[in-house]
Amino acid sequence: MSIWQSLKRLLDPSRSLVNQPFSLGNRGEKPASEELGTEMLSDARLRTENLLTRIDRLVEAAPQGKEALEKTGDLSDDLEQNLKRLKELFRLPENKDLVIREFAVATQPPTPAAVCFMEGLTDKGIINDNILQPLMLLSHLDHHVGDGGENGPSSFSTDMVLKRLLPGNQSTPLYDLASVADSLLSGDSVLLFAGSRVAVAVETKSPPSRSVGTPETERVIWGPHDAFTEAFRVNAALVRRRLKDPRVVTEILTVGEVSKTFVGVMYIDTIATPKLVAEVKRRIQAIKVDVVNSSSVLDQYIEDNPNSILPGTLMTERPDRTAAYLSEGHVAILVDTSPHAIICPITFWSLLQTSEDYYLRYPLGTILRWIRLTAIILSLSLPALYIAIIYYHQEMIPTELMLFIASTREMVPMPAVAELLLMDIVFELIREAGTRIPNVIGPTVGLVASLVLGQAAVEAKIVSPVMILVVAVTGLASFAIPNYLVGFGVRIMRFFLLALATVMGFYGVALGIFLLLVLLAAERSFGVPYLTPLAPARGKLVDLLLRPPLYRMEERPGYMHTLNRQRQKEIVRSWDPMAPAPKSDEKGG
């Protein structure tokens, strides 16, 4: 029976036509221009209305001087009118995020008013205790409201509210609808009063955010453990806490037509060169897009060379590192909703450093750097060198080792490159699985995979043991690279070198190294050559491969062209009997 029915449904054309799958595109048909048209039209009407009101007001205010001009806006005297336009703007009643609470200010006579705020972005306690309570209950206490009739009711009212009635810690008058909308969206509450062309925004921001946590990718053993969160203001505070100086500037720009993301540009005035700050701001202001919701996205808009394999800026989640870079004259960009600061400009070498280098005493810090340099070299070239040697330059391997490799390869059916690629793929799988798996079992998976798989692969004579060693060391080395993005780039370059090594042995490896170096040497990050201070050499080669003692790092890096080169006295440890005598003393004596 049921089979027959379903067959009938298939045969019945009217039924099968009705049952169309949902599609946005509506195949073959033009977009519903009418619908869009009306939408656009109402939006445009709103905007033009506002504009016209504003122009009228401007004409009105023109003779009254500059101050009056600044205060003109497009809000009307009528509370109802304002609320209506606001609702229209925020698509009420479909939109449930905007809350409008109408009430009366307890003045004599009571003034109708409304408080508007975005649900979820605001702190309800502040609204109840510091806005509604004083206005509704306490306003009649001994204020002589309404006795200054000659000033006109409108300006008087809001001025009074700001000065005497409203205990909110940040309250600003607003004159036009657009800024009202902006304030609402950033989490402020906006008060509208009957008979007033001025709205008042009260700071009630309480965006949902997590508390300050520990860094995930830039862990250190020795050093502070706080990391940036998604809250931009908290991040700025974390940095500012480390640089208690009025010269530390946080400029806030807004990026994104829809996202209106706050982008903070932090720098230290009198250290960072103004040219750099201007350039950073120029690049950020040039972004005209809908949504920028993360520092990684912003980074792609402002990088020098988007095609580059290695990152052109440094993204860090560590406030201490950010503060250190600021003090060297770099600019840090903080993007709201993103737990990473963008440091620019950078050099290639700074990508290989961690803040721990500076927390340890200098011999230890230097050793750490060397280990890391070895890691990047190994991770870049070990597979390529191995393949080149066993394919083309067997004479280099010590005889015993060579015979061992040959004897283990005897049963392996695949060419060595295939073996290597296979193991590499397995390794990448382990890595990927390890990062996605919940924290608790992640290490277990890695361990099981590496031990069991390796052992089994050797037993099954699919790979030779030396190959496992090569892949494992390479993988380990790539984990020792402190920067995730660099690690990624190095992986790509490794395959490039591997391909060349397979085709032409050491000759190919040398070609690859040359090409990569020229590529890097041609790179720039915000006008700073990528490989400086090594190439081009600028000043002494300190703080690159060696981490000099902190008390010897008297100057900021020369390639930053900072306004103020000196960062500490020439002789800091003046109490140290071993310290050289200051020069001025000799002259004085």
Partner: protein, 367 residues
């Protein structure tokens, strides 16, 4: 005239000149020095160095007279718009010929040493591609890459020399005066054309901020190259003896073959060849860049980059032209090197005299 190509400081200049010239020490040139001087080959190298530094005098005088200009602009200025470009063209052709022979010699040596079954064309194509890429990226990038590569290359070669020292037999360096003073002197002066490629820095003179930088980098680079040559010839003769050393077209490679540090470190010559490839690439890139720049200057083109690809394409068949390795060695020794005197000595001297006669440059800039 040229588009912004970065600037070259003293350090970069020195490194560039040194890398450009010392790549030749991997090739057959030390052999020639030994051939002339016998056990006293290092004296030939010494005289060669002094001669090479003298060769630089007219070029640096010219650069001083026309600061901030490349060879093309200088010759146009000094010798007029007809003769000037012709002279530039000569230099450009010589540089290109040197580039071609370098490519050929290096390819041959790679084939003889590490890749015996590989046909020359893929090696040449890949090397030419690399050089094309590097010179497209500009001299500044080449100089910076060299700055990082040079410690590797020089360190590797120095290690070879150091590890060879235990085998060094000082008596092989005697009789002290070799074949006598006159052959040594003449040979040294003749082979000072080994350093003729240094005319490159005059060709890209516009990249130097200061003519003094040009002179210093030329002189110091050549001096370092000379010291390297002396060291190589010294060790070469001290280990192989003059008769074998004078028949040895791959000096450092053969030294590396002798390294024997216990059972685990033997036959490291392939690693040396790797450094050698890097040195060759730097040299070919610089020469290609310089010949493209001078050629575009001679033809009055505003950009050198469009010329790069045709030149690189031309490079390969020309490099394949000599019949065999020995022919290319002979062409280099008997034709190209002597002509180097024209490029680095005669033309700058002529230009300088012309500038003096026609009262161009120098004083006018001073006032």
């Amino acid at each position: 005239m040229q588009p912004y190509d970065g600037h070259i400081g003293v350090q970069e200049g020195v490194i560039l000149v040194f890398a450009l010239l010392s790549a030749m020490l991997f090739l057959q040139y030390p052999q020639f020095l030994v051939e002339v001087g016998g056990p006293a080959g290092w004296q030939v190298a010494l005289i060669m160095t002094l001669g090479a530094m003298l060769l630089l005098v007219p070029a640096s005088a010219l650069a001083r007279r026309f600061p901030g200009m490349g060879l093309a602009e200088i010759s146009r200025e000094a010798a007029g718009s007809v003769v000037g470009p012709l002279l530039t063209l000569l230099v450009s052709l010589w540089l290109f010929a040197s580039c071609v022979l370098t490519l050929r010699s290096f390819t041959e040596t790679f084939i003889t040493t590490i890749l015996p079954d590989t046909p020359p064309s893929p090696l040449m194509i890949s090397a030419a591609l690399c050089a094309l890429f590097a010179s497209y990226k500009g001299l500044e990038s080449i100089a910076r890459a060299t700055q990082i590569l040079l410690p590797l290359i020089a360190g590797g070669s120095l290690l070879v020399l150091l590890f060879s020292l235990p085998r060094l037999d000082v008596s092989l360096l005697y009789p002290f005066w070799g074949h006598g003073g006159v052959p040594t002197l003449m040979g040294g002066l003749y082979y000072s054309s080994m350093a003729a490629d240094v005319v490159v820095i005059l060709a890209v003179g516009y990249a130097f901020r200061d003519p003094g930088h040009l002179r210093t980098s030329g002189m110091v680079g050549t001096l370092l190259f000379g010291l390297g040559a002396i060291a190589v010839v010294f060790v070469l003769v001290g280990i192989f003896g003059a008769p074998i050393a004078s028949q040895n077209p791959f000096p450092l490679y053969n030294l590396a073959r002798l390294i024997y540090l216990g059972r685990f470190l033997q036959r490291t010559e392939s690693v040396i060849v790797m450094f050698w490839v890097l040195a060759a690439l730097v040299r070919i890139s610089v020469l290609l860049h310089a010949s493209a720049v001078t050629l575009s200057g001679a033809l009055g083109l505003p950009q050198y980059r469009p010329l790069l690809f045709p030149l690189a394409v031309l490079l390969i068949p020309l490099a394949l032209l000599p019949q065999d390795f020995l022919t290319s060695l002979r062409i280099d020794r008997d034709v190209i090197r002597p002509l180097g005197f024209v490029a680095v000595l005669a033309i700058p001297l002529l230009l300088w005299l012309l500038a003096l006669l026609r009262r161009k440059g120098g004083k006018r800039h001073a006032t």
